[in-house]
Amino acid sequence: MAPALVWLTALMVVPCALVLALAFFRRGIYGGIEYTFTLENFGLVFDPLYAGIFLNSARIAGTAALIAVVIGYAAAYAIAAAPRRLQPVFLFFAVLPFWSNYLIRTYAWIVLLNREGLITQLLRWFGYTGEQPSMLYTEGAVIAGLVYNYLPFVILACYAPLSRLNPELAEASRDLGASALTTFRRVILPLTVPGIAAGAVFVFVLSIGNFVTPALLGGGRFQMIGNLVYDQFLTANDWPFGAALAMALIAIMLLVLMAQALAADRASGRAAEAKGDADG
């Protein structure tokens, strides 16, 4: 196991530590790195211009996570309600697109959304003759791309707790006079919160650091943190600031993951309570 650990240390731990260190240095006059300690890169992260991009990224990533969870949960619920022998087949086909190339899945949306794309043609076929709606290079296109790309994972994450759900719990709830909606809200939903949280966190974290989807579907008009990091390293040549941005990204990610662990903890506590109530 030693060679693998050496590999991970040399090519992941050390480079990441290097980026962390880089964030405390100053950008040289000609784009190089000046080795004097400074905190101004982190200060710059909170500059209104960049803080605005952070908030914007968080809003787009949050919207994508919310939509993906609603669709993914419904899909997982329907799969879990299907006959047992069909469930693995549905699940396999739900996850399959996830394993194909990310760029290609994003490109598929350019093909659909461009001015002469399928959606425009469908609108025309239904008799719409007005101005061509411009769907590409909008925030909606970016969100659609993110939801599309990460939906399979949400389905998988929500399916796990839904498939383990004891059907007797829902029956007991109905026998005790709860409506279908109450049963869902008070019994099924709390027991499946860990799956929802895992799915939402996954979409949020991957979306907020994404630079491909905003670049391709947003046409560069919607900067997200990922694009900002990309720019600092490949065009603006301000590596220390890029490093600080990457560290901020990691910090957000860790915060979200901690919140998820907390939610899962509380949910399992509540689940134990609900189970105790049902058993008693």
Partner: protein, 263 residues
């Protein structure tokens, strides 16, 4: 769960809508790769000419060759290292928190962060970047994935048969070859296929660690450049081939080792 006709209808509708959402974009993309006309959207008859034009595109062919080299070499190294790591961790059953974090990190760390970290690292070492640096980078996440697939298999492995083999006088190598390997082989092959697919499809880290110049352009980098330039049926044809390769590898992997796609 109770089954009323209305409920069953509702469930079926959800499944149809979700699978339509997942597969229509891909289906349109694939269908248009066989489109005769140059327009990327309006259908004007069946043709294979875009596939033929791919075969004559030297930039795409060299990118495909680069991708194959990167994927094969990084998969070979990652499979060896990842399998040994999995055996080492599971045999000792010492799951230190730091060790777990180290093995798990490459799978959750955002691509862009690993990409800039490696770019900074390689340029600080004054390393000339090219296919070799992409390979070094791809092994990082590939070995983590191979390790997790093999570990899952080893969870149910009865280590007492390894002891029995040693007691019966087999050397460590013979024991590995005759006892451990046959048990984990399906997982190792499944992990390797997964690693190969991930490497073939990986764009961001390759983009940052490829260095300047076209010589080390991989297929995803080539596709990204083409997409930024605009929609052409040629991209559709290329995308169809790449998707077919990854889906075949993943389906094989799934058959060898059910559960790899999360089931």
């Amino acid at each position: 769960m109770t089954s009323s006709p209305a409920r069953a209808f509702g469930m079926r509708t959800i499944l149809i809508l979700v699978f339509a959402f997942l597969y229509i974009p891909i289906a349109v993309l694939v269908a248009l790769s066989f489109n005769k006309g140059g327009l990327p959207t309006a259908w004007s008859g069946f043709s294979l000419k875009w596939y033929a034009s791919l075969a004559g595109n030297s930039a795409i062919l060299s990118a495909a060759l680069n991708t194959l080299i990167v994927a094969l070499v990084s998969t070979a190294i990652a499979t060896l290292l990842g399998t040994l790591l999995a055996i080492g961790v599971e045999m000792r059953r010492q799951y230190g928190k730091g060790l777990e974090a180290l093995i798990f990190a490459p799978m959750i760390i955002p691509d862009i962060v690993l990409a800039i970290a490696l770019l900074s690292f390689f340029s600080m070492l004054n390393l000339t970047m090219g296919l070799h640096t992409i390979i070094l980078a791809h092994v990082v996440f590939n070995l983590a994935f191979v390790c997790s697939v093999v570990r899952a298999r080893l969870k149910s492995f009865d280590w007492s048969i390894v002891e029995a083999s040693a007691d019966l006088g087999a050397s460590a190598i013979t024991t590995f070859r005759r006892v451990t390997l046959p048990v984990i082989l399906p997982a190792v092959v499944a992990g390797a296929l997964l690693a190969f697919t991930l490497s073939v499809d990986e764009f961001i880290i390759a983009f940052f660690t490829a260095g300047a110049g076209r010589a080390s352009t991989t297929l995803p980098m080539q596709i990204y450049a083409m997409i930024r330039f605009g929609i052409t049926p040629e991209i559709n044809a290329l995308a169809t081939i790449v998707m077919a390769v990854s889906i075949t590898a993943l389906t094989l992997s799934q058959r060898l080792n059910p559960g790899i796609t999360g089931q």
